[in-house]
C-alpha cells in the first residue's frame, strides 16, 4: 500500500491531501485537531454541506502517511475535473467569490472564520461552486482581523474589477501570479474613475498604497483590533463590491458562431444525431469538448449524464454557456476558457502545484468538432501534431474533418497564403491512423464534412 502526497498540498501545516489506491484522502494534523473538532461539532460542517457550500467527507480509519503529525484522516468526495481560476469565465469567478463570502458569514455564526481565501480552494461541483478545503476554518476570536482579507482582494476582487473596468483577458494574469493579482498592479491598470468608487478605492487603491507604505516597516499589529461588527461590515462591503462588478461581452468571437455557419439546419440536426450515436457507441465516463463554443454539442453528452468539460477560447461563449448551465441547473457540464494552442501549463512550485491540462487527463472521450481546420489554417499546427496531442489526452475521439472546399476554410484562407498542400482528407486520415484506429465515419448530410469515431491505438 503506497500513498502519494498531492503535489499542490504543502503550504498549510494543518494537513495535506494524498492519494492511496486510487482514492483521495486528507490527513488532519494534530495542530489542527481543535479547529477540526469545532467545525464538526459546532454544526458548521452540517450547515455548509447541507447548503452545498463545502465538500462532504467521511472519516476513515486507514494508516497515516505521516503518523508523527497525524490526528485523523478524512476522505472528501472527489471532484470529477479540477479547474483553475484562469480557466473560469467572469461569472464563474464572481460566483466563486460570492460563495466564499457566504461561507465566511455562516462561519461567524458558528464562531469560526476562513483562514485562507484562495480561489483554488473553490471548485465546481454539480455546476455550482463549492469549497474543497475542509481545513480552511479557524476559531474566531472577537477582535481578530481577517487574515485572509489580502488574499480575497487579490484572488477575487482585483481580477473581477479588471474584467469589469478594463478587459476580460486580464483574468489571465492569474496564470502568472499564483497568489492572485498584486494589488499595486491592479490599481495601476484600473481606470482613474475607479478611485471615486468607495469599495474599489478602499479595497484596491488604498489597500495597494498601504501595502507599499508598510512594506519595509515593523509595526506591532497586535495593538489593532477589528470588532465583530466591523468584521461583518468588511465582509458585507466586499460582497457589495463583488456584486457590483459586471461584464457584458462586447465582441463575441465565437459566441454568435451558430448564427454564422455555412451549413443548413438539416446538416446541423444530422451532425447532432451522428455525434449522439458515436457517444452512445463509446459510452464514456467523461468527455472533454474542445472548441465547444456555447456548448451545444457538449450538452448532447451532459444531458446523457456524462460529466462533460466544455472548453472554448472565447470568454464570451464560455460566459453564455455557464449562465445557461446556471439557468437550467445543469449538473454535468463545466464550461471553461482554454486556448488550445497554448493550454494551461503546470504552474507553482516545481511546476506542479497546479496541473497542466494534459496532467488532468486522459479523459475517456474528446469531441473535436469543427476544430481541426482552425488549428491547421489559423495556427499552422500540422495534422500529426494534433493527432499526437489528442492521443495523449483521450482514449476515444469524435472528430470532424472540414475540407478545403468548405466555405469556412475558404474564409480562413481568404486573408493568407495557402501553404497547406497537405490539408486533404487522405493526409488527415493517414496522420490520425498513426495514433488512432478509425472505427467509424459518416458524412454530414447537405455538407462536405465528415465525422469520425476513432479509438486510441
Amino acid at each position: 500500500m503506497t500513498s502519494r502526497v498531492n503535489s499542490g498540498s504543502f503550504r498549510d501545516p494543518s494537513g495535506f491531501l494524498f492519494w492511496q489506491d486510487g482514492s483521495l484522502y486528507r490527513q488532519v494534523n494534530t495542530t489542527y485537531r481543535d479547529n477540526y473538532e469545532h467545525l464538526m461539532k459546532s454544526g458548521l460542517y452540517e450547515a455548509l454541506t447541507t447548503d452545498g457550500l463545502l465538500i462532504p467527507h467521511e472519516e476513515v480509519d486507514i494508516e497515516f502517511p505521516q503518523p508523527d503529525l497525524a490526528s485523523n484522516v478524512i476522505r472528501p468526495e472527489l471532484i470529477p475535473f479540477i479547474s483553475y481560476p484562469y480557466e473560469w469565465c467572469f461569472s464563474q469567478l464572481k460566483d466563486a467569490a460570492l460563495t466564499t463570502l457566504r461561507i465566511q458569514k455562516i462561519c461567524l455564526d458558528f464562531g469560526m472564520s476562513l483562514k485562507d481565501c484562495s480561489a483554488y480552494n473553490i471548485q465546481f461541483r454539480k455546476g455550482r461552486p463549492v469549497l474543497i478545503d475542509t481545513l480552511s476554518f479557524e476559531k474566531y476570536h472577537e477582535g481578530q482581523p481577517w487574515v485572509a482579507y489580502r488574499q480575497f482582494c487579490q484572488h477575487f476582487l482585483a481580477p473581477l474589477a479588471l474584467t469589469s473596468y478594463r478587459d476580460t483577458r486580464l483574468n489571465q494574469l492569474l496564470r502568472i501570479y499564483i497568489d492572485g493579482i498584486p494589488l499595486d498592479l491592479a490599481s495601476s491598470l484600473l481606470p482613474f474613475h475607479t478611485y471615486l468608487i468607495f469599495s474599489l478605492l478602499s479595497h484596491i487603491h488604498l489597500h495597494a498604497r498601504s501595502q507599499k507604505r508598510f512594506a519595509s516597516k515593523t509595526v506591532d499589529t497586535t495593538r489593532y483590533e477589528v470588532s465583530r461588527l466591523s468584521f461583518l461590515g468588511i465582509v458585507d462591503s466586499l460582497e457589495s463590491a463583488i456584486r457590483k462588478q459586471k461584464w457584458q461581452p462586447h465582441s463575441m468571437e465565437w459566441a454568435d458562431y451558430y448564427q454564422d455557419t455555412n451549413y443548413s439546419s438539416d446538416a446541423f440536426v444530422h451532425k447532432k444525431q451522428i455525434v449522439a450515436e458515436f457517444i452512445d457507441k463509446i459510452d464514456p465516463g467523461s468527455i472533454w469538448d474542445l472548441g465547444a463554443n456555447v456548448g451545444v454539442f457538449s450538452r448532447i453528452a451532459s444531458d446523457k449524464g456524462i460529466p462533460t468539460v466544455s472548453f472554448d477560447i472565447d470568454s464570451a461563449a464560455v460566459e453564455n454557456s455557464y449562465l445557461e448551465c446556471v439557468r437550467r441547473e445543469e449538473t454535468n457540464i463545466l464550461p471553461l476558457v482554454l486556448d488550445l494552442t497554448n493550454p494551461s501549463p503546470g504552474i507553482g512550485w516545481g511546476n506542479e502545484e497546479r496541473l497542466s491540462l494534459a496532467e488532468r487527463g486522459p479523459t475517456d472521450c474528446v469531441l473535436a468538432l469543427a476544430l481541426v481546420h482552425h488549428l491547421v489554417v489559423s495556427n499552422n499546427v500540422p495534422f500529426n501534431r494534433i493527432a499526437e496531442f489528442l492521443g495523449d489526452i483521450c482514449r476515444s475521439l469524435i472528430i470532424e474533418f472540414v475540407p478545403k472546399s468548405d466555405s469556412q476554410v475558404q474564409r480562413l484562407l481568404a486573408t493568407r497564403e495557402d501553404i497547406f498542400p497537405d490539408y486533404t482528407q487522405q493526409c488527415f486520415e493517414n496522420e490520425f491512423k498513426k495514433y488512432f484506429r478509425i472505427e467509424s465515419s459518416a458524412g454530414i448530410r447537405d455538407s462536405q464534412r465528415t465525422l469520425y469515431l476513432m479509438r486510441k491505438r
Partner: protein, 65 residues
C-alpha cells in the same frame, strides 16, 4: 490592550501572511465601516423613537376626538 487568545498564541498562527499593509488598511476600513454601521443603527433608533412619539400623539388626538 487586547486580551483575545489570537494575540497570545492560543490559536495556531496564520499560515498565510496577512501583510502588515493589508492589516492596517483593514483596521482603517473597519473603523470607517464600524462608524457607519453604528451611525446607521443610532439613526434607526432615533427614527423609531420619533415614529413612536408621533404615532402616540396621533392616537391621543384620535382618542380625544
Amino acid at each position: 490592550m487586547p486580551f483575545h487568545p489570537y494575540y497570545y498564541g492560543l490559536t495556531p498562527p496564520a499560515y498565510i501572511d496577512p501583510g502588515t499593509g493589508s492589516l492596517m488598511i483593514q483596521v482603517l476600513i473597519a473603523v470607517l465601516i464600524g462608524g457607519l454601521v453604528s451611525a446607521k443603527i443610532f439613526w434607526g433608533r432615533i427614527k423609531t423613537f420619533f415614529k413612536g412619539l408621533f404615532s402616540r400623539r396621533s392616537k391621543q388626538i384620535k382618542d380625544d376626538d
